[in-house]
Symmetry: C2
C-alpha cells in the first residue's frame, strides 16, 4: 500500500512543522493518489492540509473521496472555504454527494451554492440512478451559434479552468438547443476568423437524460468519444457524460452481470463494504427459489422409486448425468448472456443461435455419451446400464443446450435481464427434467414397467 | 439496422450517377457508422467511394472495418492511394491489420510504408497480444524539453491532424526519455512565452510496454486519463494507449471472465464469428474434465450402496442437497472472482474473506436446513430422514462457502486466473464431497453401520 507509506511520510513532515513541505509532496501526486493519502491521515491533519491547499487542488482531491469523507471535511471547514470547494468540485460529484447525504445535511450544503448553480444541480438530481442524466456533469464548454472561432477559443481560455473536459465545444442556439459540436483540435487548427458554424459537425450524437446509462456507454464505446452531450426531450443541452464515468459504468455493469450469473442479486457496494447480513439477503432469495425448484427432483425420484429400488445402480449416475447437463447449460448461458449484453446477439437471431447450440450440443453430447459408457464400464454395473447412461448423456446435453440457448434470448425479448438465467438456475432446471429423461430412457431400454 | 438502410440509400444514389451526393451523405456520418455502411455496400461501390473520398476521411473510416475488409480494399487500390491510406491510419490499427494478415500480404503492405515509420511499426509488432505495448499507437504529440509553450502549440497545430489524441503533449529529452506531460488545456491557458518546463507535471504516470494490458486499464481507470504513455525499460516513449482501446480491453476482459466462470475456455472472437467446431473445442475440455471429476460421485455412491439400498429415501435428496451446495459455491465464487479482477480483494485478505463467507454461510445454511426439514416432511419420507437432510444442508452450505472462499484467492496468489474456479467447477467439487458428507451424517444419525 503505497498510499499508507506516503501518508506516514506526510504525517512525519507535519509533525516536524513543515506544512509547506507536506503540501509540496501532496501537490506532486495525482488527484486519485492524493485522495488516498488524505483518507489515510488523521482527521485533524487532513483538515489542516485541505485548509492550506489551493482551492482547485483541494477540490480536485475531494472528488476522489467517498461522500461520507467529503461531508466530514466540508462540515468542519469555515463556510466560505467549504462553499468555494463545493463550487469548484465537478457537478456530478456534488450530485452524488448530495444524494448520499441525509436531506438536512444536503440542504445545508446546497444553501452554500449560488442559486443558478443550485437550480442546475436540482435538475440533475431528478434523474434516477440508472439513467444517463444521473451521470451528467454541467462543467462543459458551450459556445453560441453566432460566434467566430476566435471568440470560442477566448471563451475556452476563460472558462476552461472549470470545465471537466475541454476536448469539445458544444454550440447551442438562443434557446439552449444543441446544434453543433466542434473539437478543441478543430478549433485550434481552424482559421480564427471563421464563423463557428464552419467548424465541426452539425449532426451531434447525444443521449437523452432519461435514457439508460448503458445506452450512454454504448454510444461512447461505439463512437470512441471522450464525452457525450446529454439533452432533454427538446434537445436542450443539460450536461455531458465523460468517458471516465462511462468506464465506471462498464465495470459496474459487468460486475452486476457476473454476480447475477453466479446466482445472486448484485451487490450495491464493493465486496468488503457489503456487511454480512446484506450478503446473506442478496443470496438467500435465489438460494431458496432454486431449492424449491430443485425440490421437484425429489418428486421425480419418488415417482421412479420402484425402478430405483430394482436397479440401485441407476442411482450411481444421477449426480454425474445431471451435473453434466448443468455444466453444458452453464457454458451456453454465460456465453449468450454476455453476447446479449454487448449486443453481439439479439432476439431476432434465436433460430441461428438454436441451430448453432444444437450442433455444438450434438458434438458435445456424443463425446459425453462415450465418456459415460467408459464410466459405466469402469464402475462395473453390468452391461445393461452402460447404454442407458450413454443415451441419457446425449439427450441431457442436447436438452440443456436447447433450453440455455432459448431462455436468455426470450428473457431479453421480454425486457428481463437475461443474466437472471444464471448457471445455478439452468442447472436446477436441467436437474429435474434430466432425471425424468434418465428414468424414462431406463424404463424403455431396460423394458421395465 | 440503420446502416443497411443508409447503404441502400447510398447504392441508389450511386446508381443515379450522383457520386458527389453519395459522398456527402457518407461524410455526414460518424466514422463508425460510415464503416458499417461501407461494409454493407457491393465491393465495386465500396472501392469507388473509397477512391473518391478525401484520404483522411477514407483512412478514418477504414479504421473501423475488420482486417480482412481493410486488406481487400487496400489490395484493390492503386499503390500510391493505398500507401497514403495506410500511412494515414492510426498505427495501432495498422499493427492489428498486419498481424491478422498472411506474412506475404503483410510484407506487401509494409513495403509501402516509409522506412522510419516501418521501423516503429516493427517495434510495436514485437509486443505479445496481452501486453500494454500491443495497444500502443505512435500518433501522439511529443515536444522537446527546451521549447516554449508557443513552440509546443505551433507544433500541435502542425502535427495535430495526425495525432490520435491531442489532449496531452508529452515532453521528451534529447534521448527520447519521457520527462514531462502537459495537457493541451494547460498549454492553451499558459503564457505562450513561458518555457515548456513550467507547464504540466514532471512525474509522468506511464506503463511499461511489456506490462499486462490489464495494468494499463487499471492505471487509466484509476487516474481518469484519456491516454497513457507507453515506455520501454529505459523510460523512452514508445507510444500511447488511448482510452477507447482501454474500453475495449475492459469489455473483452469481462467477457473472458464471464465465459470462464460459465465453465468454458474464452472465445477469441465474437459469438457468431466463432464456428461451431471452435465452440465445441472451447467447451469440451472443461466438460470432460468436470465429467471425470464428477465421476467419483459414482464411487462415493457405490461405497454407500448398502446404506442406500436399506434407506432408498436417502436418494430422493441427493440432487437437492448437492445442488444447494453447488449454488452456494457459485454465488460466492462469482462474487469473489469479480472482486479479485477489479482489485477489491487480494490474497492478503483471505482470513477476512473466509470469516465473512463462513458467517454468511452459517446464516444461509440455517435457512436451507429449515427448508430441507420442510421438504422432507412434505415428501413424507418418515420422521427419521428430516433431521439428517437438515443437518447435511447446513454442513454442505458451510463447506461450499469455505471452499469457494479460499480457492479463488489461492489461485490468484498462484497467478492462475481465479475465473477457472467456475460455477461448474465448484459444483463438481462440492457434489462428491457433499455426498460423502451426506452419507456420513446419515450413517451417524441413523446409527447404520
Amino acid at each position: 500500500m503505497q498510499a499508507a507509506e506516503w501518508a506516514r511520510d506526510i504525517t512525519d513532515t507535519l509533525r516536524g512543522e513543515d506544512e509547506q513541505g507536506a503540501l509540496e509532496r501532496l501537490a506532486r501526486l495525482q488527484p486519485f493518489d492524493r485522495a488516498e493519502v488524505l483518507a489515510h491521515l488523521e482527521p485533524a491533519d487532513r483538515l489542516r492540509l485541505v485548509r492550506a491547499m489551493p482551492t482547485s487542488l483541494a477540490a480536485e482531491t475531494l472528488e476522489y473521496l467517498e461522500p461520507e469523507t467529503q461531508y466530514r471535511i466540508l462540515d468542519h471547514l469555515d463556510e466560505p472555504l467549504a462553499a468555494a470547494l463545493l463550487q469548484a468540485m465537478s457537478s456530478d460529484t456534488v450530485v452524488d454527494l448530495l444524494l448520499a447525504l441525509h436531506p438536512l445535511q444536503a440542504a445545508k450544503l446546497k444553501a452554500w451554492l449560488p442559486s443558478a448553480y443550485r437550480e442546475r444541480i436540482d435538475t440533475l438530481m431528478t434523474f434516477p440512478e440508472n439513467t444517463a442524466g444521473s451521470l451528467a456533469t454541467i462543467e462543459y464548454i458551450a459556445a453560441r451559434e453566432g460566434w467566430t472561432v476566435q471568440q470560442a477559443l477566448d471563451h475556452v481560455r476563460k472558462v476552461g479552468h472549470d470545465a471537466e473536459v475541454v476536448s469539445y465545444v458544444y454550440v447551442v442556439d438562443a434557446r439552449g438547443r444543441l446544434v453543433r459540436v466542434a473539437s478543441l483540435r478543430e478549433l485550434i487548427l481552424a482559421d480564427p476568423r471563421a464563423p463557428l458554424t464552419a467548424v465541426g459537425r452539425p449532426d451531434v450524437i447525444a443521449v437523452r437524460a432519461t435514457a439508460d446509462r448503458e445506452e450512454a456507454a454504448r454510444l461512447l464505446t461505439r463512437y470512441d468519444f471522450v464525452a457525450l452531450p446529454v439533452v432533454d426531450d427538446q434537445n436542450r443541452l443539460l450536461g455531458i457524460i465523460t468517458i471516465d464515468d462511462i468506464v465506471d459504468v462498464i465495470h459496474r455493469e459487468a460486475t452486476e452481470d457476473i454476480q447475477r450469473l453466479g446466482g445472486s442479486v448484485p451487490l450495491a457496494e464493493s465486496y468488503f463494504k457489503t456487511p454480512v447480513p446484506v450478503l446473506f439477503r442478496k443470496r438467500v432469495g435465489w438460494l431458496l427459489t432454486l431449492f424449491v425448484a430443485e425440490a421437484y427432483t425429489g418428486t421425480v425420484l419418488r415417482h421412479f422409486e420402484d425402478i430405483l429400488s430394482r436397479v440401485v445402480g441407476l442411482a450411481f449416475f444421477i449426480p454425474l448425468l445431471i451435473g453434466t447437463g448443468g455444466n453444458t447449460g452453464s457454458q451456453t448461458v454465460s456465453t449468450l448472456v454476455r453476447a446479449l449484453a454487448v449486443g453481439e446477439v439479439t432476439f431476432r437471431d434465436w433460430l441461428r443461435v438454436l441451430a448453432r447450440e444444437l450442433a455444438t450440443g450434438t458434438l458435445l453430447g456424443t463425446v459425453m455419451a462415450a465418456a459415460a459408457l467408459v464410466r459405466a464400464y469402469t464402475l462395473g454395473v453390468g452391461p445393461q446400464l452402460g447404454p442407458v447412461v450413454a443415451v441419457t448423456a446425449l439427450f441431457i446435453v442436447l436438452w440443456a443446450s436447447m433450453v440455455s440457448a432459448v431462455l436468455p434470448l426470450l428473457l431479453h425479448r421480454l425486457r428481463v435481464d437475461p443474466a437472471v438465467v444464471s448457471g445455478p438456475f439452468i442447472s436446477t432446471l436441467v436437474d429435474g427434467t434430466g432425471l425424468f429423461l434418465y428414468f424414462t430412457v431406463a424404463q424403455v431400454m431396460l423394458r421395465l414397467t
